[in-house]
Every structure is written in C-alpha cells, then in structure tokens.
C-alpha cells in the first residue's frame, strides 16, 4: 500500500557543465502528494524536468512503479503515465482549447467522456472550446493546464507552480480539484509551489530543496510544518 510509485536514487543533472541536482534521492508512495518547496533557482523545476527526461541524468536512476525510466525521452515518460504541467510555455497558444486538451489524450475517442468529467470543475471551458488558448487570461491558462493533466488520468502528476498569478478564489477551486482527484483516483502528485498554504492543503508531505539537495522534509499536516518552512524561505 505504501510502496514507492516514483523513486529517484542519487540523481544528478544540470545544464552543460553545471550540476543543479546533486545526488538527489526521493521516494513518493502511490497515492501520496508531495510538495516541493524552496527559493527560486534552487533546482525545483530542474527536478521535474529531469524526471520527465528533458534533461539527461549525469548519474542515478528514476523508477516509476518498477519501470526504469532513466533513459526515456519525454514522450515515453508521458506514456508511462506521467502528466507534466510546466511553468512556462506549457500550452499551445495558437491552438484551440479543444486541441490543447485532445493532444494530451492517447485516444481521440475518450475526449467526450473525459471532458464531461472535468466540466464540473472547470465549467468555464465548456462553451469556449474553439477559443485559442493564447487569448485566455493567465488564471484561465493555469486552469487549462490542470484540466489537461486531469484528463490524462495519469498515475503521477507533476505540477510546476500552477498557482502562480492566480486569485485566491481560483486557487481555492484548484485545491478542491486536486483533492477531489486524489480522493477519486488516488493520483500521486509532486507539486512545486511558492504558495505555502495551498501546498500544505493539497499535500501529505513537503520537502525543501536548496542548492539541488533536500535539506528538510516532513508531514504537511504537522503543527510545526509552517514554521519550519517559513524559516527556510525567510526573505
């Protein structure tokens, strides 16, 4: 029940000559949600990109449910059941909302069924399927990202700062959507967040990344969690 679905062992990666992640090990159990926190430039986005296979690993291995995905390119990682929402350039701005959503599906025919599921969470898209994604507001774009990830019905969701720039009401809705998804399907999640309350609400566990290494971790529901995190993020 608590076996690791996503496992990183001694993973190092980076850009050209510089290593951003240094021998990082991390384990996420099936159905668990982990928040990855830390100041800017500490390697959080790099972590997700490394798991997705966008960056070559200088050392170490990544396993998803027993399958070794260390050498897999992004499309194979995605096909292994991982949905990734990047921080930037995560949507096809010149394609319609519908096209953006259907591209994520392996089977075209599943579109209607899956869309009707997420409709209730994101009613705003129902009548605007033909609209170009680039004309949506920042908040709506983030919502589209989450909708897309949900429609993929992935085993693991990797979310990179999806609350960035959103109003509190929208953030509330997103939190509910993610919690609902976890309850319904037991989706495993790894979220990068700057918004600490949101992160703690949605996750079971948090960890703090600094200079490409995990410097602290703990239960998101613990009373001391917020203070510990705040100490690390002290501006």
């Amino acid at each position: 029940m608590t076996q690791a679905l996503l496992q990183l062992k001694d993973v190092s990666s980076g850009y050209k000559a510089s290593l951003v992640l240094r021998k990082l090990s991390l384990s996420v159990a099936s159905g668990e949600a982990v928040a990855v926190l830390g100041k800017n430039g500490m390697g959080k986005s790099t972590l997700l990109k490394t798991i997705m296979g966008y960056l070559p690993k200088a050392s170490g291995a990544v396993h998803v449910g027993g399958l070794d995905i260390t050498r897999h390119g992004p499309h194979r990682v995605a096909r292994a059941g991982i949905a990734y929402a990047a921080q930037e350039h995560a949507l096809f701005t010149e394609l319609s909302i519908r096209d953006n959503l259907r591209l994520a599906l392996a089977k075209e025919s599943a579109f209607d069924e899956r869309f009707s599921e997420i409709e209730s969470v994101f009613p705003v898209f129902k009548t605007r399927l033909k609209q170009f994604a680039g004309t949506l507001s920042g908040g709506e774009q983030k919502m589209l990202l989450v909708a897309r990830a949900l429609m993929m019905r992935p085993a693991i969701m990797l979310l990179d700062e999806i609350t960035e720039g959103l109003q509190p009401s929208v953030i509330e809705r997103l939190a509910e959507a993610l919690l609902g998804e976890r309850k319904k399907r037991g989706t495993t999640m790894l979220l990068i967040e700057q918004n600490v309350p949101f992160a703690l609400k949605v996750s079971d566990r948090f960890l703090i990344l600094k200079q490409g290494e995990i410097v602290d971790e703990g239960s998101a529901k613990a009373a001391t969690a917020v203070q510990r995190i705040f100490d690390h993020l002290r501006v």
């Binding site: 980076g14 050209k16 000559a17 951003v20 100041k39 500490m42 918004n195 309350p197 705040f230 993020l233």
Partner: protein, 605 residues
C-alpha cells in the same frame, strides 16, 4: 585554494609536449610542398603539369572557402562566382581589347575592383543584425546562379554558353605557369596560415563559436565578415584571373554553382578549419578527377558524392586530418602568453557628473503582453545594485533593454552619459558596458588565453599576422584570473573547464573590456559554496575599490545581502521598491510577493 593551484600546475606541462610534434608535422608537409613546386617540371609530364596548374588555382579558392566556412562559420557556395568574375575579366578584356601590358593591367584592375565590389555587396546582403546563417548561405547560392545567367545571356559579348576562347594571353612556357601558380598557392596558403593562427584570426573562430558574445564584447561582427568576404573575393578573383590567363578559355561553368559546391566538397573532405586539408583535398581530387573523368566519369562523381555525404554525417572533421593523425594531435596549440597588467585607460569624453546608468520610462511590450512598464532607475559608479524579484518579473528583459538599443519599446537608456537610442550591443559596449550572461557564454573551442585576448579586442587591436607574447589585462580582471586559478590554465580549451571556471572566465572576459557598468545575470548559478564566496568578494571589490557600477540579477538572497549596496525589487514589470537590503527584506510588500501568502499563514495558525 592551494589545492587548486597545485592541480593546475600539474596539468600545464602536457600541452607543451604536443606543440613541437604539430609544428614538425606541418613543417614536413610544407617542405614537401615546396619541393614539389620547385622540382615539378622535371618530375611531372606535360599533361599532369597542365592539370596541376589548374588544380593550384582551384586550391587557392578552396583555401578561401575554408577561411570563410571552416574558420568563420559562413557556409558559402558562392566563391566560384568571384573566381569566374576574375576569369572573365581576363577573357573579356583580352578578347575585346587585345593583349598588351596596359590591357593586362586593366584586366587585373577590373578583376580586383569587380570582385571587391560584388563581395562587399553580397556581404551587405548577407551579414546584418539578426541575419540567419541559412539566409547567408542561400544568398551565396543565388550569386553564382545570377552570374551564370547573366553570362549566358551576354550574347557575343560574353560568348554565351560557349564562353570566350582563343584570345591572346601571356606568352609563357608551361613550366613558368606551373611555378607562378604553385608560388601563388604557397603564398596564399602561408598568408592564410599566418592570419588564422594570429590573434586577429582567432576573432574569426570566436565569431563562428559565439557571435552573440562577440557583439557583447564590442566587436562589429557584420563589418568583420563583410571585410573578410571582400578580401577572399579578391583572392578568388585573382586565382580566376590566373586561370583565365593560363587556359585561354573561359566558360560560364567557371562561375557556376556546380563549381561552387565542388569547393565545398573539397573543403569538407579535406578537413574544414585546417587550411592545409582543403588545399590537399582540392589538389588531389582535381588531379584524380581529371584522370578518371575520361575513363569512369559517372562512377567517380557518384563516389565523390557518397564520400561527401558520409563525411558530413560521420566524420565532420574531414578525411585528411584523420589520415594524418599520427603526425600530430589537433588542437589550438600550446602557445601561452605571459600575463601582464594593463593600465586602465583614462576616462575621456565623459561628463564627470553623469551617472553610470540611467533608465527613464523604459517599457517592453510584446503585442498586448506588457513585460516591463515605466522603469525609472539610476545607478552610480561604485554602487552594487541587486535586482531581485520572482520569476517572470522581467529581470532578464530589463538587462536586455539596458544592453541593446533595439530591445525596448519605449523610454530612454543612458550609459555613462551616452544615449543608446536603437544601437546594437556592440555599440552599447563601446559606451562602457559589460554584460555577463547566466550560462557561461564563452568561446568553446578557443583557449583561455585566446578568449581573454579577444575580450580586449576593442581596446587593443589584435595583430593580423602574429601572436603577441604578452596578454594585458586590467588589474581587476587579473585578480579574477589569478584567484580562480585560471592563470595556470591559459592553454586549456574553454569547453574543458569546470562550470565554475567557465563562469570565472566569462567574468574576466567582461572585465577585460574595462567597463564602467557591468550587468551580471545570476552570476552564482551552479557554483559551489567556495566559488560563490570568491565571486562575492571579487564583485564587492569591483564596486568598492575600482569604482565600477555593478548591477546583478540574483535569486540567492544571502549572496545579495552580503555584497549589495542597494536593492531594487521588480515585480510584474514594475519596480515596486528600492532601498537597502534591510529595508527591502523586512517590508511586507516584498514578503507578500515572494512567499505568496506564506507570511499570513503563521498568523492564521
């Protein structure tokens, strides 16, 4: 730090061992070549001499193609056009005005002037700000096609498809032509060789490796390329002139793109970027083609084509270097200059009161997307300004607007009292700006010493034919080089350095410009703790002791706290706060921006 020094001392001797081996190999080759040229007429039969003379003229053009493509990175199919122009200069003048000393000189003048002009024109068309290398290559393909068409439609004047034949030309025996062509080739090869290994020649390689970095060092790369193209056009034209004068026949094929691509093939097979590889390749292939063209014309062309594709895909360095590898190991050579200090140039032409950097109402829009809005910022020398803000705040865009006049959509930027208007980076740099990029932006295939020397190009014109034994750097650049251990690695190739060393090298290069304002984009990215402390100390001293104005974008707030004299906070394209680190860090506004509503949480709990 002591370990670093001993480590570098140990690696230093190795490169020196390669030097003599390489020089020996080249010397042997050169001597063999000279012997063949001197004694050719007694060794080779008439038919072979004939072929060799033509091959030598072609080889001269191949050398120019290598300088343009192998060294400067400009893939050109068009050198044949200049060759043809030179040949037709001879053919046209001798056919229509007869042959005499004066017409020969006129023809020569026409060849030189014509090719220089066309070369400059093509250069203007191909090398400009933001030009794509594809485009330049396609233009180089258009040129010979246009020329061939013009020649074909020239009627009796140019002889159309049959060309011009039977005109009177220099009355010289075959042996004399052989010596002339051979000597010309040897001279061009020698000249080319001196230039590419000289300090100025390294600039060409720098342009090929990283043109953007060159512009941010103040080098007017477009100008350099246009001048190079014009010069090589003239050389190719002169070779064509020789060919036309020798053979007594000029045809449109001499200016066509088929010949143009043959040059590329010879250079690719011979080994681009080596000079002697293309020379050998051109001569050998021309000779073999001449012999085989009668017996198995199609098969030979097929073999060449296949070899070409094979080499491009699998052996990009070419065949000849591969075959001759036992003689030497390829590399830029073990030459290491001695480091000396350059006295910083006096401040001239700058109003004493003008602040180092002034931005007024600077804005940047992409259509509806407002990345920067109404930025007003001023910085003085001796200040170290930290620019902080969350991702997407517009920090890098702001840096771009400060260093490139064409970036911003509105507002004004003043560097040391000069308005940058819409000037490109190379001009902004000349006003006293230095910019260090986030990922180490250096010249991968050049040595540390070469990188540093090129960095000082606008201050000390590098020599066109020699390599200076000394490398002068301003005191603060020297400090960087010495404290980070680069002083012991002057002959190491830049891409072999560690990430921290590459960052240090780029910083030293930027400082070698003796800038008044230095922009640094995340200088600590990817550095270890020790390296970060080092850089921090260096940057502080730059501002405090040397009076530079530094502006750095940073995420590592601990680092910024140590060294910055002032903090500017950027959020969603606006400056929301300026002040000392203490003021900024403890303000509620900044906390909200950075930690979302994290600050609110402990209160709620």
């Amino acid at each position: 730090m002591a370990d670093v020094h001993t480590a570098t001392l140990q690696t230093a001797p190795a490169p020196a061992r390669q030097g003599p081996a390489k020089a020996r190999g080249l010397l042997l080759l050169g001597l063999a070549g000279i012997a063949l040229i001197a004694f050719g007429p007694w060794i080779f039969g008439t038919y072979l001499l004939n072929i060799l003379i033509k091959a030598f003229f072609f080889a001269i053009v191949a050398v120019t193609v290598d300088m343009l493509w192998g060294y400067t990175g400009y893939l050109t199919f068009g050198q044949s056009a200049f060759f043809g122009l030179g040949a037709y200069a001879a053919g046209l003048v001798f056919t229509h005005a007869g042959f005499s000393i004066s017409t020969a000189l006129a023809a020569l003048g026409l060849a030189i002037a014509g090719t220089a002009l066309v070369g400059a024109l093509v250069g203007w068309l191909s090398f400009y700000r933001g030009a794509s290398p594809f485009f330049a290559t396609v233009i180089s393909l258009v040129l010979p096609i246009v020329l061939t068409q013009l020649l074909l439609s020239g009627g009796a004047w140019t002889g159309s498809s049959s060309g011009l034949t039977g005109y009177e030309t220099f009355d010289l025996p075959l042996e004399a032509w052989y010596w002339i062509a051979g000597t010309a080739l040897a001279l061009v090869a020698l000249l080319g060789w001196l230039i590419v290994r000289s300090d100025a020649g390294r600039v060409l390689t720098a342009i090929r490796d990283n043109e953007s970095r060159c512009t941010y060092l103040g080098i007017r790369t477009s100008q350099v390329k246009i001048i190079l193209l014009s010069a090589t056009a003239v050389v190719a034209g002169l070779a064509g002139f020789g060919y036309g004068s020798f053979s007594g026949v000029v045809a449109p094929e001499l200016s066509g793109f088929v010949l143009g691509t043959e040059f590329i093939i010879w250079v690719a097979l011979g080994g681009r970027g080596t000079l002697w590889g293309p020379l050998l390749g051109a001569v050998l292939i021309s000779v073999v083609s001449a012999y085989l063209s009668s017996s198995m014309p199609f098969a030979w062309q097929l073999v060449l084509g296949c070899a070409f594709v094979f080499v491009i895909v699998l052996l990009p360095q070419g065949l000849v270097p591969l075959l001759l590898r036992p003689l030497h190991r390829s590399g830029p050579g073990a030459f290491e200059p001695a480091l000396i200090e350059r006295i910083a140039r006096p401040q001239t032409g700058r109003p004493a009161a003008a602040p180092a950097l002034v931005l007024q109402g600077v804005a940047k829009h992409y259509g509806h997307l407002k990345v920067l809005q109404g930025i007003d910022l001023a910085a003085e020398e001796g200040q170290l300004v930290g620019l902080i803000g969350p991702n997407g705040a517009g920090k890098t865009t702001l840096m771009r607007c400060m260093s490139d006049g064409a970036e911003r959509t509105a507002g004004g930027v003043n560097l040391c009292g000069h308005d940058i208007r819409t000037l490109p980076p190379e001009e902004c740099v000349r006003f006293g700006l230095g910019r260090k990029f986030q990922n180490a932006n250096i010249f991968d295939t050049l040595t540390v010493a070469a990188c540093l020397r090129i960095a000082g190009t606008i201050l000390e014109r590098p020599s066109l034919f020699t390599r200076s034994p000394t490398l002068a750097l301003p005191s603060y650049a020297l400090e960087v080089v010495r404290t980070t251990g680069l002083a012991g690695k002057l002959s190491a190739v830049a891409k072999d350095l560690s990430h921290g060393e590459q960052q240090a090298l780029e910083l030293a290069m930027v400082l070698a410009l003796e800038p008044k304002v230095v922009l640094l984009d995340e200088p600590t990215a990817g550095l270890t703790k020790t390296e970060r402390t080092q850089i921090g100390r260096i940057l502080s001293s730059l501002a405090l002791h040397h009076g530079l104005c530094c502006l750095l974008v940073e995420h590592d707030l601990d680092f910024v706290q140590e060294i910055a004299t002032r903090i500017v906070v950027l959020h969603q394209g606006l400056i929301v706060m300026q002040g000392s680190f203490e003021e900024v860090v403890h303000s509620d506004l900044v906390k909200t921006i950075y930690a979302g509503s994290a600050h609110a949480a402990p209160e709620a709990a």
